[in-house]
């Protein structure tokens, strides 16, 4: 009995050692980015674990020498607007597809599901050509419209709304709510966890997204942060100190949102239900 206990204990230690190693490897590059960004420029290329003495020189050079501030504003506006419009547009759709019956409902849902099975990459070139005809290239709307019609958002919200008790919605109808009020005053607030999931995921994924902004935005002042930094790192002639400062700033919003909304994000990604706290 005692040997089993010792064996278990050793095993657990190994498990913890493995997990610690992975956690360390996972965050080291992110740490390294912050580390280098605060290093004095004289020792930029020397390997030290701490940026001593710390300096914000790189950040000053970043904001003075590049359009980083503009890119941050663009990306906030882009990711924020997509997240906001998505939860409104997608939740309306999800409500109709889950709690309403009308002719054509099942057909619409089938079309959405079928389209989810086609990889989005195939739509890239046709969408670009269509947007060029519509004069949407290098515009804010051209950038954000494709992000809003998110089948996955509809799917996730629909799953959640399906499980809302119909009695609550009916009692609203009996009390004289119009169908719009039933949605906006009852179903929408009750779906808060799913809405938080979709909003957080949308913000993070569009903050990070690369391909569409790269293609649709053609002038530097319209770039988003990832596109701006990538261009800068290849053709901008900036050094690593400036690049690391830009990278470090750009991860802060997504890190913050991930840590705050972690429970909802993980539930959404694993399609689990988060219990609503009343």
């Amino acid at each position: 009995m005692k040997t089993i206990k010792v064996k278990n204990w050793v095993f657990l230690c190994l498990v913890y050692a493995l997990l610690s190693l992975v956690a360390l490897i996972s965050i080291f590059p992110i740490y390294h980015m912050f580390n280098v960004s605060f290093k004095p420029r004289a020792i930029l290329y020397e390997f030290t674990l701490l940026p001593l003495p710390p300096t914000i020189e790189n950040y000053i050079l970043l904001f003075e020498g590049t359009l980083m501030f503009r890119w941050l504003l663009n990306t906030f506006a882009y990711a924020g607007t997509v997240a906001l419009l998505t939860i409104i547009v997608d939740s309306m759709t999800a409500y109709c597809l889950s709690k309403a019956t009308f002719p054509g409902r099942d057909l619409i849902f089938t079309i959405i599901l079928a389209a989810m099975m086609v990889p989005g990459q195939v739509t890239l070139i046709p969408r670009f050509i269509m947007f060029r005809y519509m004069n949407l290239i290098n515009t804010f709307w051209g950038l954000l419209l494709p992000g809003i019609a998110s089948p996955f958002g509809v799917f996730l919200l629909r799953q959640y709304m399906l499980a809302l008790p119909s009695d609550i919605l009916d009692s609203g109808r009996i009390d004289g709510c119009s169908e719009w009020q039933v949605f906006w005053k009852i179903a929408f607030p009750l779906s808060r966890p799913a809405i938080a999931t979709v909003a957080a995921l949308k913000f993070i994924s569009h903050w990070n997204t690369f391909l569409w902004p790269l293609i649709v935005m053609t002038t530097q002042d319209n770039y988003t942060v990832p596109v701006g930094l990538a261009t800068l790192s290849w053709w901008g002639g900036s050094d690593w100190g400036v690049m690391m400062a830009g990278s470090a700033i750009s991860v802060i919003p997504t890190l913050a949102i991930f840590i705050i909304f972690q429970k909802y994000i993980l539930a959404g990604l694993t399609l689990r239900r988060v219990q609503l706290k009343m």
């Binding site: 493995l18 996972s26 547009v89 109709c96």
Partner: protein, 293 residues
């Protein structure tokens, strides 16, 4: 009277669904059909003139040595990604499922790379890959090993693979962990009572019950690695030469650098066909739709 209010009620639904449906039609439905159409035309540069060439783009594609070079890179990348990510994330998920304390902390830390933009990640890794002052070579040297040219012709695609596995590991671990947590403890308890060892328990209980999740993870891995693009763009620009160009990056180059829209669209259809097969396969065996954000 009742039917009149009923009709009014139903009308509201159509209004509520309209914004989504318009965007969905413009951004997804029409482009899917239009993609086929474009792939039968030759586009001259950035102008809007095009001539019908039938299947010529597809013929060009299959006889283009660069296309096959990129296909080879993509297959290496996808196979490596599938193998490494599945093995490592399964190991991590099992470890996280074993421990009593610290699950959330470890999970959060390993998940952080996944919520960071690939563009930014590639920039940091390029610094770490640097031959002279990169951290990786400094570590190798302190261990008495020779320095590695991480982004050279022979290594570039593997370096992209390494960064991609590092970035996505936490995500697949979370998915597998969620799958593991749905397995009821009673099965394990019963097996232990019967005197089953760890290996037997894993093979007879964990693996069969985890199969749906595992299939989903493998499908997601295949899709995301087969279409890999942003890591390649920022880490190597597909280079040196075409040494690390994947098919999706090749599509971008042909489409948006050379403006061969027809040719690029043919590549897109080819990629979508492969993706579609993976999704169909996955749906057939699990029946839950796969989607990525």
């Amino acid at each position: 009277m009742a039917s009149k209010s009923e009709i009014k009620r139903k009308k509201v639904y159509y209004f509520m669904i309209t914004p989504f449906f318009i965007l969905f039609t413009i951004c997804i439905l029409i482009p899917i059909g239009y993609a086929f159409y474009i792939s039968f035309f030759r586009w001259s540069g950035v102008t809007i003139e095009s001539t019908f060439v039938g299947l010529e783009n597809y013929i060009d594609m299959f006889s283009d040595p660069l296309f096959w070079k990129c296909a080879q890179n993509t297959v290496i990348f996808t196979a490596g990604f599938l193998l490494l990510t599945t093995a490592l994330s399964l190991m991590l998920a099992l470890a996280l499922n074993k421990i009593m304390r610290g699950t959330v902390l470890f999970r959060t830390m390993s998940f952080i790379p996944y919520v960071t933009s690939s563009a930014v990640i590639a920039i940091v890794w390029r610094l770490m890959f640097d031959h002279a002052y990169g951290v990786l070579n400094i570590i190798l040297e302190s261990l008495g090993l020779p320095r590695v040219l991480w982004l050279s012709k022979d290594m570039a695609i593997y370096s992209c693979l390494l960064v991609s596995v590092w970035q996505n590991l936490g995500y697949y671990t979370v998915l597998l962990l969620a799958g593991l947590q749905t397995i009821p403890d009673v099965y394990y308890d019963a097996a232990k009572v019967d005197g089953a060892g760890g290996g037997v328990i894993f093979k007879e209980i964990t693996l069969p019950l985890l199969k749906p999740t595992l299939f989903m993870v493998i499908a997601l891995e295949t899709l995301s690695s087969f279409f890999v693009y942003d890591i390649v763009y920022t880490l190597t620009q597909g280079g040196p030469g075409y040494a690390s160009t994947t098919l999706m990056y090749y599509l971008y180059r042909r489409g948006f650098i050379n403006f061969y829209f027809g040719y690029a669209s043919a590549i897109g259809i080819f990629l979508a066909a492969i993706g579609f097969i993976v999704v169909m396969f996955q749906r057939r065996y699990i029946g839950r739709p796969v989607a990525q954000f």
